[in-house]
């Protein structure tokens, strides 16, 4: 037996209101299932369960305001001898997670690389044999597309495929629904890309509480370093300012893990490695985000090589699948022909995006003296569920600091 208590979603959370129970006594639950929706000062947050078992009893009613740590339900563990207080080693691993199975659920863990399959939440509350009933069928293509568009296919009870399997069409319909479009016509690839972008950004704007910061960063040191670097180098070896900016961002991030990671199913997972998503606009319209893997380890020359290679391949359609999927944070670079600054939309499940405006000259005050400075405006949009403005400001300051001292980037 284990007590479920009002969870703490943040250090500043004292109480929470049970907005809605998602389970009833007798319901079988699995680690990761959502059991309640909690109303906090920061809005509704899903509460998940960290063990497999059966909900024995609800100890609090909907609408009740309860202190953090107070019991709200009882859970009979599926595996009672197992320590009830043992914390899961990997609090969140929606992909690649091996579910801890009840004896009956032996099929569910047979493919450790596939997302875990939820129990069906239909009226059949105690399926004695849920080996089949519990499995939601979804085709690999649909699964892939859902991951790409960050769509939670588990919301679908059944699909339109063979034996009720969720197929690609169902995912596209869901994507469409989230953009308010009812019908999904045969689309050419640019239309499809538009639709995919639409689905992602709509979802992002709907689900992610964005906050925005921006900072003007003086570039004269960086530009001087760059001019010296490029002096006498052949065209092939010449470096663009972007490479320095990307390096600065990548090298700043490891100190600020709350901006580099994924927010999935109500939980944030910081990532150790920085896979910098490079938003590349395509000639002829559209946008691709390609991951620069292990970006924190790259020096500016290596970064430049990556950028060159990736932009070329993105525009010719030669990106690798891993590049399309792995980004832990995105950088959107409007370039030297863009505008001064931009407030960007986060690509879920990422939690931050950095936008770079164009390089420009402004009057700049140093020691009460006005001089002309080259600057760039660096903007950060971040997920308030994961980080706060203060941390964001520190991140921007760190980027600034690195750019004032380009030798730190090598």
């Amino acid at each position: 037996m284990k007590q479920l208590t009002m969870p703490s979603f943040g250090a500043d959370m004292a109480t929470g209101i049970i907005a809605q129970w998602k389970v009833q006594p007798g319901d079988k639950v699995q680690k990761g299932d959502i059991v309640a929706s909690i109303d906090t000062m920061k809005g509704l947050i899903d509460m998940e369960v960290f063990d497999d078992g059966v909900i024995n009893k609800l100890l609090a009613a909907e609408g009740e305001d309860i202190e953090v740590g107070q019991p709200i339900a009882q859970l009979t563990l599926a595996d009672e001898p197992r320590s009830a207080t043992e914390a899961p080693k990997h609090p969140q691993a929606p992909l690649g997670q091996k579910s801890i199975s009840a004896p009956k659920d032996k099929h569910q863990s047979r493919n450790p690389s596939a997302p875990r399959v939820d129990l069906a939440s239909d009226s059949d509350r105690f399926p004695e044999d849920n080996e089949v009933a519990g499995r939601r069928r979804i085709s690999p293509a649909a699964r892939q597309k859902a991951a790409e568009l960050a769509i939670d296919w588990r919301q679908l009870q059944t699909g339109s495929g063979p034996q009720g399997a969720i197929v690609l069409d169902d995912i596209m319909t869901m994507a469409k629904a989230s953009t308010g479009e009812a019908h999904y016509p045969e689309a050419d690839s640019s239309q499809q890309m538009r639709e995919a972008i639409a689905a992602v950004v709509s979802r992002s704007k709907r689900d992610i509480p964005h906050y925005y910061l921006q900072q003007d960063i003086q570039l004269d040191n960086a530009l001087a370093w760059l001019a010296e670097y490029n002096q006498g180098r052949t065209m092939d070896e010449r470096m663009l300012l972007s490479a320095l900016l990307y390096c600065a961002i990548a090298k700043a991030l490891p100190s600020f893990p709350q901006f580099n990671g994924f927010y999935l199913q109500g939980r944030y997972q910081a990532q150790e490695l920085v896979h910098l998503g490079n938003a590349i606009s395509l000639h002829g319209g559209g946008l691709m985000v390609a991951a620069i893997h292990h970006a924190q380890q790259l020096n500016p020359a290596q970064m430049m090589l990556k950028l060159r290679d990736q932009v070329l391949r993105a525009r010719e359609g030669g990106l690798r699948m891993s590049e399309m999927q792995d980004a832990t944070i995105t950088v959107s670079n409007l370039g030297d022909r863009g505008t001064d600054s931009m407030q960007s939309i986060i690509f879920p499940p990422q939690v931050a995006i950095v936008a770079l405006g164009r390089q420009r000259c402004v009057p700049w005050v140093v020691d009460e003296q006005v001089s002309i400075a080259h600057i760039v405006t660096v903007s950060l949009a971040a997920d308030h569920r994961v980080s706060d403005g203060h941390a964001g400001a520190r991140l921007l300051n760190k980027i600034d600091h690195l750019l004032q001292n380009p030798e730190l980037l090598i």
Binding site: P140, G159, G161, P162, L168
Partner: protein
Amino acid sequence: MKENTLSYRDAVHEAIAEAMRQDERVFLMGEDVGNYGGCYAVSKGLSAEFGPQRIMDTPLSESGFVGAGIGAAMGGMRPIVEIMTVNFSLLALDQIVNNAATLRHMSGGQIGVPLVIRMATGSGKQLAAQHSHSLENWYAHVPGIKVLAPATIADARYMLAMALADPDPVVLFEHVMLYNETAALPTPADCPDMHKAVVRKSGTQLSLITYGGSLGKALEAATLLQEQGLSVEVLDLRCLRPLDTASIFASVDKTKRLLVVDEGWRTGSLAAEICAAVAEHCFWSLDAPPQRICSVEVPIPYPRHLELAATPQVQQIVDLVLGLLGKQAGTK
């Protein structure tokens, strides 16, 4: 036969005659290819043009004359060996598998076997359990030989020349139900490189992959499905070894669904190989489980209705496609 049309039988006949006119090294040997005119009348009249020295009747010694064909190929000739049916070819399996397929590799590349073996295959003529089987995949299993299944008049007409030009042994399967098929007079352009699979009908929702005698059934099913507004692609494998996997994967990656139609028995079939390869390489593209329609696992029986029941049929294909597209019925 109408003018400007050609039957499959005459296409093979023409292909042999042309090869023999163009290359003195080419000769045809097999049981009853000469005076009798061939079991399926493919070589009728060739003896008159080329004489018994080049249209050689052999005794009923499959192992002997297939081996002799291999030896003659090693000795500089370009033999075409005809085996009446695939069932009889089992008497020559030793020569095909132990010699033709191995000699080049086993000799460290010294000895080549530029040989073509033609044989009839498949059911449909009520020839019962020793003359009706489709054992193409037994041969497609063996590295060192190439396996072709011309399913169109154009392929029947022009694939043989490619097989003869190949430096390695090529086993060529002619489905018995195709010999009477006719089509407009083909040109060499209608027959791409023998190693390539060909999209016979383009579609977007499902790939019907097939070869040989099942191609017609697949195309018919695709047409019926089109009338219901469904877009099915039909890919004709043509070459069963080496498989043109690039074309297979391209088609399935596009349509995201696969149904293989194969007249061979299901267990260990070529269809199984294709499904496995697709599962390995196209897994994340798949929007439905790969499926196959094969022959029922019994010896092919004599009565018409049982013969039909034992082998893949058009309606079966249509039903399965509908199921895979979530239209009605279900998958097996």
